[in-house]
């Protein structure tokens, strides 16, 4: 470890430990899942970057959404995402979460994933190569260093908009809001939710 790294470790140890141990939730959302087993096994070895698949979202701080998202999967993704402890980072993999990709005119896939959950970074390609995941991870490290990987804070701040978008697609959600809505709603009334689930 050189002097620069040592100084970074001493100044912000929490940030450094977030960067170098990104535990990814094992959720195969779409076709991009084909390139994830090569990445986590011996040949392309993601563990040297600190990236490991873990069993439950409670143990994870990276959510890799691989491929397109259908309406049913969106429900599962939101439930999984809301269980992840903060700070967490979301990376969308493939062209489909960016703008719909190849299924831009499908009635069952959602087109822009960042209207529903906040995204830190995108990996374009159909299918991106395994090296693209590593480039994304190193990019994510730079963003974390500069405090720009703030998707979990954005989710909290703009939860009302996210939840409104989610309910526009999925109908009334049968789980209570994750955060109390901050600020006033459209009638100028201070919004207060009595349930505060974390």
């Amino acid at each position: 470890m050189d002097r620069n790294q040592l100084i970074k470790w001493l100044q912000a140890p929490a940030k450094m430990s977030h960067k170098y141990s990104l535990h990814a939730v094992y959720f195969c959302t779409g076709c991009g899942i084909i390139e994830v087993p090569p990445v986590i096994t011996a040949r392309w070895d993601a563990e040297r970057f600190g990236v490991l698949p873990v069993a439950t979202p409670r143990q994870a701080n990276l959510f890799l959404i691989t491929g397109y998202v259908s309406v049913k999967t969106l429900k599962a993704i939101i439930r999984t995402y809301e269980q992840m402890p903060v700070p967490n980072f979301t990376v969308a993999f493939g062209s489909c979460p960016i703008n719909g990709g190849m299924y831009w005119d499908s009635y069952n896939t959602i087109k822009h994933l960042d209207k529903y959950i906040p995204i830190d970074g995108w990996i374009a390609g159909c299918m991106p190569r395994p090296e693209a995941i590593f480039v994304a991870v190193t990019h994510l490290w730079t963003l974390i260093d500069k405090d720009m990987a703030d998707s979990s804070q954005r989710y909290r701040k703009q939860y009302r908009q996210y939840r409104a978008n989610q309910e526009a697609v999925l109908g009334k959600l049968d789980w209570p809001p994750l955060f109390p809505f901050e600020g006033k709603d459209e009638h100028g009334v201070e919004e207060k939710t009595t349930i505060n689930v974390r």
Partner: protein, 171 residues
Amino acid sequence: MNTALRKKLQSMFDDLKMTTSEGAEAIIAVPKEALLAVLSFLKSQGYEHLGLVSCVDWIEQEAFELVYILSAYLQEDHEHGDRERGNIIVKTRIPRKSPQFITVIPVFQNAEPYERELHELFGIHFEGHPRLTPLFLERDYHIPPFRKDFDTREYVKEVFDSIPPVEKPKD
């Protein structure tokens, strides 16, 4: 399909339109009342594998065409010494307004998920089906999605593109 089977079919069922060509599958168009009988007869002749139950929406002719594709597990027809039994496509038409039909589960048990899918995507009701609940979709669509009058691009514009993006926080 060999000639003996063809002759038998023609003699047992009138109102049958059969086209067979060399190297291709035999296509049999039957009226809807005779479908179950034709399928049971073909199953008894050795065509035991129901490969697919499909539906084609002929919107100009105001009909749904239900398609049942059969094939044989054993390619030898021992009774007539004939090999190479290929696929048989059995078709029938039902009217497009409030479409309903009977289920073929009594003859072919594995038709259950296919008919469930057709119910969901085309809106055809199958009498006697044990489980006509949604298979793939969770939302309600004003027209079943696979019909020709469902414009999927309009639907995408209306539902997905109308959702506003989340603005960046101001600070």
